[in-house]
């Protein structure tokens, strides 16, 4: 079964850019246009990697991450954001709560999407293979 990636962003252009960047990969890419929709999809399916926008109307990235971590402490979550203090101040709150996340700089280029995704999901595959030896 192919590994699944969930993209949560209210901007359709960003969602399309991820789909386009990963269309030739072996991974299944699903998208959600809000934190609420993303959480529902996460309940309905198992994801191996989540890309999450920080600034969204309704439930923002921080609130969405907090909900994700209530049920899943392991799935890698990359939050995309501009690298500015005002945005990092929001992330500091979840850092203080001890919630794991990584960050990726906006705008995200297709090369970085592909590299990062293969690195994260590829490495997990290698780890599993190694554990069988």
């Amino acid at each position: 079964m192919s590994k699944r990636i969930l993209i949560i962003d209210d901007d359709e252009a960003v969602r399309r850019s991820f789909i386009s960047a990963l269309e030739d990969s072996k991974f299944q890419v699903d998208t959600a246009e809000s934190g609420e929709e993303g959480l529902q999809m996460k309940k309905d399916a198992e994801y191996n990697l989540i890309f999450l926008d920080l600034k969204m109307p309704g439930m923002n990235g921080v609130e969405t991450l907090r909900e994700i971590r209530k049920t899943d402490k392991e799935v890698p979550v990359y939050i995309f954001t501009a690298f500015h203090k005002e945005f990092f101040d929001q992330l500091r709150i979840v850092e203080e709560q001890g919630l794991n996340f990584e960050v990726i700089k906006k705008p995200v280029g297709s090369d970085l999407i592909v590299t990062l995704t293969k690195l994260i999901l590829g490495q997990h595959e290698e780890t599993k293979e190694a554990s069988h030896v």
Binding site: F83, F88, V103, T115, L119
Partner: protein, 96 residues
């Protein structure tokens, strides 16, 4: 004076980030012994510095010196990939 100057950019002092830093330090201690310095940089505290170093994602390891400057992104659990990415394999070090 250390031969290799390295920076590790992390996103907050979370359990994952601490684990990444510890694993990396074990690898560097084994391979570079006392020839390196590793500075752990919390991206959330240093956005300007991350801009200057052109950091695109976390965690990122930067070899600041000796030149050429190199960067690798990942969890650094694969020893060979880390050393190769930094240009620090035995072969590359012997060539210099």
């Amino acid at each position: 004076m250390y031969e290799f100057r390295l920076y590790l950019y992390i996103s907050g002092k979370t359990a994952n980030s601490v684990a990444v830093a510890c694993n990396l330090k074990l690898l560097l201690d084994k391979k570079l012994k006392n020839q390196y310095s590793l500075e752990v940089v919390n991206l959330l505290d240093n956005p300007q510095r991350a801009q200057e170093d052109n950091i695109l994602a976390t965690p990122t390891l930067v070899k600041a010196s000796p030149p050429p400057k190199r960067k690798i992104i990942g969890d650094f659990s694969n020893e060979e990939k880390v050393l190769s990415g930094l240009g620090l394999t035995e072969e590359e070090r012997t060539e210099k």
